[in-house]
Amino acid sequence: MDIKVLGPGCAKCQQTEKVVKEAVAETGVSATVEKITDIRKIAEYGVFGTPAVVVDGDVKCVGKVPSKQDVKKWISK
């Protein structure tokens, strides 16, 4: 599974990365978590703002820190 956290690097973006990594560790899912900070690469996803989370190419949330429960739901499917 390929997970990308989109965000240039503010506190909310860092919090999102932390939540995603914890969710992956707690579920034991095999996944790579990559932080995308390059604005041009972020723009390719067409998101209105950051942070945003992308799971296997699917944008799951935009502009907010997701709950760990939500992330677990996304990666358990």
């Binding site: 965000g7 240039p8 690097g9 503010c10 506190a11 909310k12 973006c13 604005i39 972020i42 723009a43 996803y45 067409g46 998101v47 209105f48 703002g49 950051t50 942070p51 945003a52 190419g57 699917d58 944008v59 799951k60 949330c61 935009v62 502009g63 907010k64 820190v65």
Partner: protein, 142 residues
């Protein structure tokens, strides 16, 4: 994509039908000027219409949307319906008394009227599901 972190948090997403008539282009011009004036940020309605995930999810997650249709055909409204988006502020320019035609020489007076109508629609009190939608959105950058 705004060159800022957490850009979605407190912003109004402005979606204009940008159609092929005076009112369609008025919606577009008003959206551009409202963006330049800092009221909100114009976003790609076409991306939502194309069901591109980043665009659809952005529209679902943003706290406030202003959707501007030029006429009662309601293309913006239909696109949002197809995307499953229900909570938004909605303005139809022909309802403001602007006649639909093919005169693309847009008047400053009409543009100002449209901008005021958009601002008024977005400043109306939020209730019910919409209010809870606001409260679940986190603040920007801690």
């Amino acid at each position: 994509m705004e060159n800022q972190c957490c850009a979605a948090n407190n912003e109004v997403m402005i979606l204009a039908c940008s159609g092929g008539s005076n009112v369609g282009q008025l919606s577009n011009r008003a959206a551009v000027e409202l963006t330049q004036e800092g009221f909100g940020k114009m976003y790609c309605l076409a991306g939502i219409g194309g069901q591109l995930k980043g665009f659809v999810q952005s529209a679902k997650d943003v706290p406030v949307i202003a959707a501007i249709d030029g006429c009662a055909v309601g293309c913006a409204k239909a696109i949002l319906k197809n995307a499953g988006i229900q909570d938004y502020n909605y303005i139809v320019l022909t309802d403001l008394g602007i006649e639909k035609n093919k005169n693309f020489n847009l008047s400053d007076e009409d543009i100002t009227r449209v901008k005021k109508a958009v601002a008024a629609a977005c400043n109306s009190p939020k209730t019910g599901a919409e209010a809870s939608k606001f409260s679940r959105v986190v603040g920007c950058c801690g």
